[in-house]
């Protein structure tokens, strides 16, 4: 009883495991569901709540990026070369050309507005990272549950498959792929195709990490009394998988999803940095950093702001993810 998480509802006495979540809220004896307990714990964790607040803010910025740019910024790809010193090629004015019109300054050489590009980059970064994470989590959960529950040769096959995926030289593959993909494929073109491709590369090859965790959890869960009970009452495998096991896996899935998103943001930035990401001139954080490398000695602000954006985002997601894990599973603390 110490190693695994509690069955949902914290209930091991009843043999009726049907609709545990719906029942949980209605119980007078236990009073609070696991979710509510976790929320109470999370609320007390100020660091995690701050992280969560930043995450919500970033998601809002990303979702409404097009409106923000339209009403507060400039078109992200528009040149403003009159704001750049023609000889030195650096922005005129202090701190990388910061002004009311350009609150984060402008790029050297072409004078593109950094604020708009960072806001637009947040949309690209979060879109790719969250879609890729969703893809990894879905594949990883399904494969992990199947491997853990059925065991035997199914487990062996899936586990070996995970090993193969983990051994795959992903970065080299991504770089090679970026060189050969055409401008139009699968009915997509331009940025949409690139985003789809990045989601596929990042998402499809990262599922074994979460898959292994889910497999391990399933292995321990399936030996538990409530599963035995359901089975002895004649429940079939699909029922046990979806109604008994999956609800108990929500906590680790949630935690690893939150922790995977920042990893994927970094990976997307790395790919963009290497020129594999979305095509220029579309703004991405990694792409901006890659451009800034050539300028950091004479215009460090160009590197500072996109770097800060990545740093804050990754930190916020990580703090929130850690807090969430502590709240859902205090014993792992």
């Amino acid at each position: 009883m110490v190693l695994g998480p509690e069955p949902v509802g914290g209930d091991t006495t009843t043999l009726v495991a049907d609709e545990p979540i719906a029942l949980a809220g209605a119980r007078a004896i236990e009073g609070r569901s696991l979710g509510r307990i976790a929320w109470t714990r999370l609320k007390r964790d100020r660091v995690a709540m701050t992280g969560g607040g930043v995450v919500v803010f970033l998601i809002l910025v990303a979702v409404f990026s097009h409106f923000i740019i339209k009403y507060l910024g400039h078109p992200p790809n528009e040149f403003n070369q009159k704001l750049v010193d023609a000889t030195l090629q650096t922005p005129m004015g202090k701190f990388g050309g910061i002004s009311w019109s350009h609150p984060l300054g402008v790029e050297p050489l072409n004078g593109r507005d950094l604020f708009s590009r960072i806001v637009y980059g947040s949309w690209i970064s979060l879109l790719i990272a969250s879609l890729a994470t969703a893809l990894s989590v879905i594949i990883g959960t399904v494969m992990g549950v199947i491997a853990g529950y059925f065991g035997g040769w199914v487990d062996t096959v899936i586990s070996r498959l995970m090993d193969v995926f983990l051994a795959f030289p992903l970065l080299l593959f991504a770089i090679a792929l970026a060189g050969v993909i055409p401008n139009k494929a699968f009915g997509l073109g331009g940025d949409a195709l690139r985003i789809a491709l990045l989601v596929f590369i990042i998402g499809f090859f990262n599922w074994p990490y979460i898959g292994r965790i889910i497999r391990g959890q399933t292995l321990s869960l399936r030996e538990r009394e409530f599963v035995d009970a359901a089975r002895s009452l004649g429940a079939r495998s699909p029922y046990i998988l979806f109604r008994e096991l999956l609800p108990n896996l929500v906590a680790p899935i949630l935690v690893y999803t939150t922790l995977l998103i920042p990893t994927n943001i970094l990976f997307e930035a790395a790919l963009s940095f290497l020129g594999v990401g979305v095509k220029a001139p579309t703004a991405t954080w990694g792409g901006m950093l890659s451009d800034a490398v050539h300028w950091y000695q004479i215009d460090p602000y160009f590197m500072l702001f996109p770097g800060l954006a990545i740093f804050v985002t990754v930190l916020a997601f990580n703090l929130f993810g850690d807090g969430l894990r502590d709240a859902l599973d205090p014993r792992a603390r």
Binding site: N77, A86, L88, L109, N110, N183, A280, H294, Q297
Partner: protein, 589 residues
């Protein structure tokens, strides 16, 4: 035919480390020099004239290289700076005149008594060596040593770096290498005769009026057959020039000292002022800049100019700027407008691009005025035969001519513009900036560009230089650049405008300039053995290319060189391609 220029590739991590060292030394060199002539440093003082002329011998000239030579072996080197530096320890048959300005592009005899004597059909070229020439060990230099030097340069399995002009033009009759030569003296090549020790005769497979340029190549530097150790010869090259190797730690550093057997009376083209020359290799590029500014180093040997950090500092300070020279390279950054891609098969659509592009934007992508001048045609102005031609009024309308572009679009039946792709080399931020600038400026007239980046290693082989790939991927504009091995119309233009060098398999240097008029003029120029007529014909080729609107010239490249107070007798040689003449430079003492 594209001579390599060392390009400093700065990785992010390494760059950050450099940033730390960059804070170290920043002394301002002002008037701390003494001895020699007291010339005041002025911006561009070593362009078109010799700065601080001197004949005073002595001192140590300190050079540093942020990378390494491809090889010190005369048969195996293709870096521009190496062709300059090698003249300190090797003498070829002819060389570029050690003169500032336009005179520097002329050839003068070095080992030879005069320039080559051509037969009537320009297929046989004869040179006579000066008397009294000696190697560093005192043994005489004969025509057989020159022949052996050329022979070994033919072996591209052993010497992979050097150019292949002799392989391409000599009547080899199957000869591949002296290392596979069965004759006792290893001089079995029939294409070169040495009737006596002073005379050398080259037999070409096809006529070539500009053979003297081949005789300038480091491959004609004599190599004594007994001393040849193949690929290891670079460890100790036997000197025929004013300096010889004292120490040589490959990849690290080497030192040259005076060659006692070099006779100045046979060699009016080298001042040979310093007593000693030291070269450090693989030095951090920013460190080199800082040491130059501090006066702890005399020359950045690669001649690629100051890095961004140092350049920003120097341009902002008039006193520092006075120590710089903006040297012209025989190099043009340009783009090819691909007539394979619809609607660019229509010349008016191509002209719309010529007019629509922001030429100043192109220039800014390469660093603004410091990066070079706005090019109005492919041929750089310092190359003999250049005639000013500005078909599309780049000079009058540096930001492009939107009205004319719209008119041309009307004429070609695309009044609302069209969509094409533009390709550039992914590793080159300047080409990326060019593509972004073109995208912005052409959007003004409704031409929509999508940017496609390709790895530079395979750019010519698999992507832009492969006609069917370029066509299938709608690459209407292909950003590119070209540098000449030597300042001559043939060396610069032939490989990039002659449509007959385009191979369907890829690996092309001509990305898609296809025009019968241009081809015809190239043929005429190649066959012409009269130098001035030939140069004029290359000028006409340049104009004809612009008339086709298949080339979009961008920038005639320049480079900002730093000239510390420690050096004198310094000037930029246009023949060598925009480097300081290292054989002429001295140090103040």
């Amino acid at each position: 035919m594209m001579k390599r220029t060392a390009i400093a590739v700065v990785a992010a991590g390494a760059a950050l480390a450099m940033g730390l060292t960059a804070c170290g030394s920043s002394k301002t060199p002002s008037s701390n020099s003494s001895g020699g002539t007291n010339a005041t440093a002025v911006y561009n003082a070593a362009i078109g004239k010799v700065f601080a002329p001197s004949t005073k011998k002595g001192g140590t000239l300190r050079l540093a290289n942020s990378g390494d030579f491809d090889s010190l072996d005369p048969a195996d080197t293709y870096y521009g700076y190496s062709w300059d530096f090698i003249r300190l320890y090797g003498r070829s048959l002819v060389m570029f005149a050690p003169k500032p300005g336009g005179d520097g592009v002329n050839l003068v005899p070095d080992l030879a008594q005069s320039l080559g004597q051509a037969s009537a059909d320009a297929k046989t070229w004869t040179y006579k060596l000066k008397p009294g020439l000696k190697f560093e060990d005192g043994s005489p230099i004969t025509s057989k040593d020159v022949k052996y030097g050329v022979e070994r340069s033919l072996d591209k399995d052993t010497f992979v770096n050097g150019p292949t002009y002799f392989n391409d033009f000599l009547d080899l009759q199957g000869y591949t290498s002296p290392y596979k030569d069965s004759s006792a003296d290893k001089l079995g090549l029939k294409a070169i005769d040495t009737p006596d020790d002073q005379t050398i005769v080259f037999h070409l497979a096809k006529p070539f009026g500009g053979f003297d340029y081949f005789a300038m190549l480091p491959a004609t530097i004599p190599v004594p057959q007994k001393a040849d150790t193949g690929i290891k010869y670079k460890e100790h090259v036997v000197s025929s020039g004013p300096y010889m190797f004292q120490t040589n730690n490959l990849g690290k550093d080497f030192t040259l000292v005076r060659n006692p057997n070099w006779n100045a009376s046979t060699d009016p083209n080298r001042a040979a002022l310093p007593d000693k020359i030291t070269v450090q290799l693989n030095v951090n590029a920013d460190d080199i800049d800082n040491r130059l500014l501090a006066g702890d180093l005399d020359v950045a040997i690669e001649g690629t100019g100051l890095g961004t950090a140092a350049q920003g500092k120097v341009l902002a300070d008039q006193n520092l700027k006075a120590h710089t020279d903006l040297a012209s390279l025989a190099r043009t950054w340009f783009a090819v407008i691909n007539s394979d891609v619809a609607p660019l098969d229509n010349i008016d659509c191509r002209k719309a691009i010529e007019y629509g592009v922001d030429h100043e934007g192109y220039q800014r992508a390469y660093g603004g005025a410091v990066g070079g001048d706005i090019a109005t045609s492919l041929l750089p102005p310092q190359i003999p035969g250049y005639q000013k031609n500005d078909v599309y009024n780049f000079a009058a309308k540096p930001n492009g001519d939107v009205d004319m572009a719209k008119q041309e679009l009307q004429k070609c039946g695309k009044p609302d513009g069209f969509s094409i792709n533009v390709s550039y080399r992914a590793e080159r931020p300047k080409e990326k900036a060019t593509a972004e600038s073109m995208q912005q400026s052409l959007a003004r007239v409704g031409i929509k560009l999508t940017l496609n980046a390709y790895p530079q290693g395979d750019y010519a082989k698999l992507y832009a230089g492969k006609p069917d790939f370029a066509k299938a991927n709608n690459l209407g504009i292909m950003i590119y650049g070209w540098g000449a091995d030597w300042p001559d119309g043939f060396g610069f233009l032939q490989q990039i405008v002659d449509s007959r060098v385009i191979r369907a398999a890829g690996g092309n240097t001509n990305l898609g300039i296809r025009d019968k008029t241009v081809d015809g003029l190239v043929d005429q120029a190649m066959a012409e053995s009269d130098t001035s007529k030939r140069n004029q014909l290359w000028g006409q080729v340049d104009k004809a290319v612009m008339d086709t609107a298949m080339a979009l010239p961008g920038v005639w490249s320049k480079v900002l060189l730093y000239r510390p107070d420690t050096v004198n007798n310094v000037y930029v040689n246009d023949g060598l391609g925009g480097y300081y003449d290292y054989a002429w430079m001295g140090v103040k003492q």
